[in-house]
């Protein structure tokens, strides 16, 4: 057992050990890669598609914030993406404010919506949370369908303008619009990163790994989950608002449960609990769907469904999760602790987890 005297620990708290240097590298590396990728994206792909990728990327990060760091799967997040899309569109159409303001209002609306739904949903955990959020998501779909004064019902909400201080390039050309809108996505992603690496994020991860332990320490687990849920809905709302303005059109598809499923797929494909994996999954799925659609293939669900199946059966760490695990192994020469993210915990449940997830009927279980 290697031991270091505690006094040394106390004297040099920030001494750059190889480990912390690696951590700093990793903390800076992923945001940098993501940032550069975002900047060059509209040069590589058709700008509206680039915008789609960015919006879905942030949406996927909002899912991972909950799933990877809070340990709960929301299968109804289209409610926040979609309600924000509608609200953003409605504000943009009716008030003529610059689109970032409309998007902000949309995201705030999504957070407000997430409060009551979140309060109910966090009373259940595990698989029930997924079912309950899915059901409430469907309720929002029906409400959107009924509320045709605002949403346009089946016809959708049309003609959402890209109002931007009279700068015509942005308002007319998707290439320039991309650069005007991308700061919103970047800010959202940074917010997600900050949340994960905050005191709140620490508690949240604790709740994910062992909620009973965290409760015993005096934390109100449901309150933390609720805050995470509302924050996540806000990020989903930002993404949905960007998407709405970019398309200039909002349809019922945005609140449909298949949208909720799609963003979960992106998150799983990219790697649960990696935060930056979601954007990778988003890029792959958006490009793939675009390719299939332009090739005239009807059964996109067959392809995405098969990806889901392969991912879940054979590739549970996802793309970034696999890369990180590989790098970790290389770094520690295979001797290190396994990464203890959501994916690993799910893959190898310990006894506590097993009892927690087996038949968890009331959202929590008496510990042993």
């Amino acid at each position: 057992m290697t031991t270091s005297p505690s006094s040394a620990v106390r004297t040099f708290p920030l001494a750059p050990t190889p480990r912390s240097r690696w951590r700093v590298a990793r903390l800076i590396m992923w945001p940098t890669i993501a940032f550069v990728a975002l900047l060059v994206l509209p040069w590589v792909v058709y700008p509206p598609i680039a915008m789609d990728i960015a919006a879905w990327a942030l949406f996927a990060m909002s899912i991972d914030l909950l799933l990877g760091f809070g340990g709960v799967l929301s299968f109804g997040h289209a409610a926040y993406w979609g309600s924000s899309a509608y609200l953003t569109g409605w504000v943009a159409v009716n008030t003529g404010v610059p689109f970032p303001v409309a998007i902000l209002i949309g995201a705030l609306g999504a957070m407000v919506l997430a409060v009551p739904i979140g309060m109910l949903s966090v009373r259940r955990s595990g698989i029930y949370f997924a079912m309950v959020t899915l059901a409430f998501g469907q309720m929002i779909y029906f409400i959107a369908n009924q509320l045709s004064v605002i949403t346009g019902g089946e016809n959708g909400l049309q003609g959402v303008p890209k109002t931007f201080f009279g700068i015509e390039a942005v308002e007319k050309e998707s290439f320039f619009f991309y650069y005007a809108a991308i700061p919103i996505v970047v800010l959202g992603a940074l917010a997600a990163w900050r949340i994960v690496h905050s005191p709140f994020g620490r508690v949240l991860s604790g709740i994910r790994d062992n909620p009973e332990r965290v409760r015993a320490l005096g934390y109100d687990v449901e309150r933390y989950k609720l805050i995470a849920f509302v924050l996540s809905a806000g990020l989903a709302g930002l993404a949905g608002g960007v998407y709405a303005v970019s398309h200039g059109f909002v349809s019922l598809q945005e609140v449909d449960w298949t949208t909720s499923g799609k963003v979960v797929l992106m998150t799983v494909l990219g790697g649960i609990g990696t935060l930056w994996g979601g954007p990778i999954g988003a890029a792959i799925i958006v490009l793939l769907e675009d390719y299939l659609a332009s090739a005239g293939f009807e059964g996109i669900g067959i392809v995405t469904g098969l990806i889901f199946i392969v991912c879940v059966v054979l590739f549970r760490k996802g793309i970034l999760g696999t890369i990180l695990a590989f790098v970790d192994r290389a770094r520690t020469g295979g001797r290190g602790m396994p990464r203890f993210g959501r994916a690993d915990r799910l893959a190898a449940p310990d006894s506590v987890t097993a009892t927690n997830t087996a038949h968890d009927e009331e959202g929590n279980h008496a510990p042993r």
């Binding site: 031991t3 005191p199 790994d209 009973e212 320490l217 042993r368």
Partner: protein
């Protein structure tokens, strides 16, 4: 163990009356009346399945009683949420070690120490904020002899070391009442002795209720012993009284190692 403490104290800090827990048709805890005096160390013994852990779960709020009341420090805490009970000053350890494998010992303590301050709600700040609990955390780790391993992930720890961190976590809440579920289970003799010494030391100025199967531990530490069988109290008394009690001997007959 602490003659000077017990003389000063004497009032009842924890009082359970008619405490009952039924799972469907099965009664795991059956009309238990339990009084724990302030400043004492109280042992809870009984065969596996006697309901000891269930009783702890009731006392710490993780289970709602089917009947009966719990009074702590003159206050009715029956049916309160675990986190609120923790804030009132009851901390518990878990029978199955439950730590966060990827967090260091120090980070565990930061998490515990941050609990009453509300720092955990700060989602807009860096987690470096938690560093302000560092000195106190190191202090606690020092108390359980783990200061030298403060910056290692607990996933690397040996069993005894994990139990020590569990204890430090419970202590971090600065509880008046400490509930320890089988603190020495699965330990080798050396670790058991260390733990006895540790519990003795941290019990100064606190009340401790612990469950243990090791009669040496019970005999050394406990001021008072309650024997539980099939959910109900069989006997209560000092260690010597209990050890020589007919009913206890009958109940434990065949359990040679006791």
């Amino acid at each position: 163990m602490h003659p000077d403490d017990t003389s000063a104290a004497g009032d009842v800090i924890l009082h359970a009356k008619g405490l009952t827990k039924t799972f469907r048709d099965f009664t795991a805890v059956d009309a238990v009346d339990l009084s724990v005096k302030r400043g004492t160390i109280h042992a809870l013994v009984g065969p596996n399945g006697a309901g000891k852990t269930t009783l702890f779960n009731l006392l710490s709020g993780f289970l709602k009683p089917s009947g009966g009341t719990i009074t702590f420090d003159g206050r009715d805490i029956t049916g309160m949420q675990p986190e609120n009970i923790a804030h009132l000053g009851i901390a518990r350890s878990f029978q199955i070690t439950s730590l966060f494998e990827k967090l260091t010992a120090l980070q565990h303590l930061e998490l515990a120490l941050g609990s009453p301050t509300g720092v955990g709600f700060q989602f807009w700040r860096s987690e470096k904020r938690l560093a302000r609990f560092r000195d106190r955390a190191m202090d606690l780790l020092d108390q359980v002899g783990m200061a030298s391993l403060a910056d290692r992930e607990v996933g690397h720890f040996a069993y005894g070391q994990k139990r020590a961190v569990e204890l430090a976590l419970a202590l971090a809440l600065d509880p008046q009442l400490l509930l320890l579920d089988e603190p020495t289970a699965g330990m080798g003799i050396e670790d058991v002795e260390r733990t006895i010494e540790l519990v003795d030391r941290i019990s100064a100025g606190r009340t401790v209720v612990f469950v243990d199967h090791n009669m040496h531990v019970v005999g050394t530490l406990a001021d008072r012993v309650t024997v539980l069988q099939q959910g109900a109290i069989l006997v209560e008394g000092s260690y010597d009284e209990v050890r020589n009690d007919e009913k206890v001997i009958t109940a434990y007959l065949g359990q040679a190692n006791v």
